[in-house]
Amino acid sequence: MTPKNIIFAIVAVGLLIIAPLGQGNYITYVLCSWLLFSIAAMGLNLTLGYAGQVSLAQASFMGIGAYITALMTLNGIHWILAMPCAVAATFFVGLVLGYPALRVQHHFLAFVTLAFNTLVFLAFRNEEWLTGGSFGLVGMPRPDFWVFSTMKQLPFYYFTLVCFLISAAAFWWIVHSPWGRAFKALRENPIRANSVGVDTRRMTLLAFAIGSAFGGLAGALMTPLVQFIEPGSFALVHSLKLLLMVVVGGAGFFFGPILGAAIVILMPEVLRFTEGYYLIIYALLVIVLMVYSPTGLMGLGGKVITRFRPQREVRKDMVQGAQL
């Protein structure tokens, strides 16, 4: 990390710490949900943005994580034990979902994962004996850590923030490790990667598994945040929403999904003055953004900077990004 990065990180963490102070419960709640969706979107960013594997099933991993956490905490097991189970389970399910990616790519993979998401949704809804069916599960406790109770909104925010910061650090570490380099190689040229010794099969599976585990962690946080989960919260449309977060923010950029999650979660707020039209405006903005800057907002920011400081030429391959 360069000194500039360190200063930036400290300022960012500082802002995150003071963000909810003096705010109402609603804003704090929105911030919590932004942080947890950022974690899920980060995971998808690893799978999609870094490793180039299309997944339209991230919401189902949030669901698996959320249900496991809910069932365990409802049975009196502490969150701190339930969460690792959720993360481990999503890791292994992600590993299994990765297998189709070894056979097919691009749009076929998109459809397999999309179908997987719907199958998971159906299981949540139909296996009532376990999941409570369409009524969902309600009344999951928020965890206590000795003297620190997360029952109130503000302490819960700091609890979520700690999880977020740990996830972000882990993510940063992974993408800057040799693994991260191998993931990128997998995205850019899998055949070449294979020929220089990258075990592309293993890395593909890992990309799915790790990305899914982040989704599982986000689900494990959603359970105590909302204290109610039902199958509809993990339907396909939410996977598309996560995809939107990653791509609108900027796939393959560290901050992309965090920014994208902020946009998707806060946009209804910002556009609320337009009453019923905000989804229309939102959809239009996304289309315009994609037409003008397919690398998302991070790419757009880069474009603006290059316009004012044109030292480096803009390269054709920069615009390509992860491809389906």
């Binding site: 040799p178 991260g180 380099r181 020929s195 592309t200 390269r315 920069m318």
Partner: protein, 248 residues
């Protein structure tokens, strides 16, 4: 007598009724630079893919360092000490040159776990910088590989093939599309590397001039079979080879 690195034993390959490669056998010894030439459709690429383990021979065997490579995955072959370059441009365009090179070495260092928890360059920065310097790319160290010129990318591709210290390097049309100045540079670098590291090369190439000046021995294929084998001078004067190229 130095050891045999690559051994091709009675390899045949059929596609349906068509016999693309017929009973081909040859050995390559340590430090040799072998050229594999032949007109279009002579079975070079099929044979090449058999050597790379991508195709399983219909009969016969290919051994690298004493191991049968049939059906071996590219990454395992690479770990066995086989580096390769590609006919088409084959770098990682959105990674910097140094990252391209480090990547080509990192899978040979440490374990899966050390590559996650260890240093982000897998301890290879110095070695990679040396490799970049060897191919005279130091000034482009931090540029994105995709922004380099065609010839420069060919050099990066070659540097990647050498990064893991392979005992055998397969060069697939290294001269294709490279301009003359760059070509001289490439040939000179390959030669130097071969002499200093005693690395074995197998080269598929259309550019006769390039093959003749780089290789120590040449195998000529026509219609799936070896029609001649020998030093560049012998091949140049071989009537059969001339006929194969001219008469078809």
């Amino acid at each position: 007598m130095s050891e045999t690195i690559l051994s091709v034993r009675n390899v045949s390959k059929n596609f349906g009724g068509i016999q693309a490669v017929r009973e081909v056998s040859f050995d390559v010894k340590r430090g040799e630079v072998l050229g594999l030439i032949g007109p279009n459709g002579s079975g070079k690429s099929t044979l090449f893919n058999c050597v790379l383990g991508q195709l399983k021979p219909s009969s016969g065997e290919v051994h690298v360092n004493g191991r049968n490579v049939a059906g071996m995955r590219a990454c395992d072959l690479n770990k066995l000490g086989v580096g390769r370059t590609f006919q088409q441009l084959s770098v990682f365009p959105q990674m910097s040159v140094i990252d391209n090179i480090i990547l080509a070495g990192q899978e040979h260092h440490g374990t899966m776990l050390s590559r996650l928890f260890g240093p982000s360059d897998a301890g290879l920065t110095a070695e990679a910088e040396q490799m970049i310097a060897f191919f005279r790319l130091s000034h482009l160290r931090d540029e994105l590989a995709g922004s380099l010129s065609y010839g420069q990318q060919k050099l990066v591709d070659a540097a990647m093939a050498f990064m893991a210290g392979p005992s055998l390097v397969l060069l697939d049309e290294p001269a294709g599309g490279v301009n003359l100045t760059m070509l001289g540079n490439l040939k000179e670098r390959l030669k130097t590397y071969n002499e200093s590291h005693d690395t074995t090369f197998v080269v598929i190439e259309h550019n006769m001039e390039f093959v003749m000046s780089l290789c120590s021995r040449i195998v000529v294929l026509a219609e799936g079979a070896i029609i001649a084998e020998g030093t560049p001078d012998e091949i140049r004067n071989n009537q059969q080879v001339i006929d194969a190229y001219l008469g078809g």
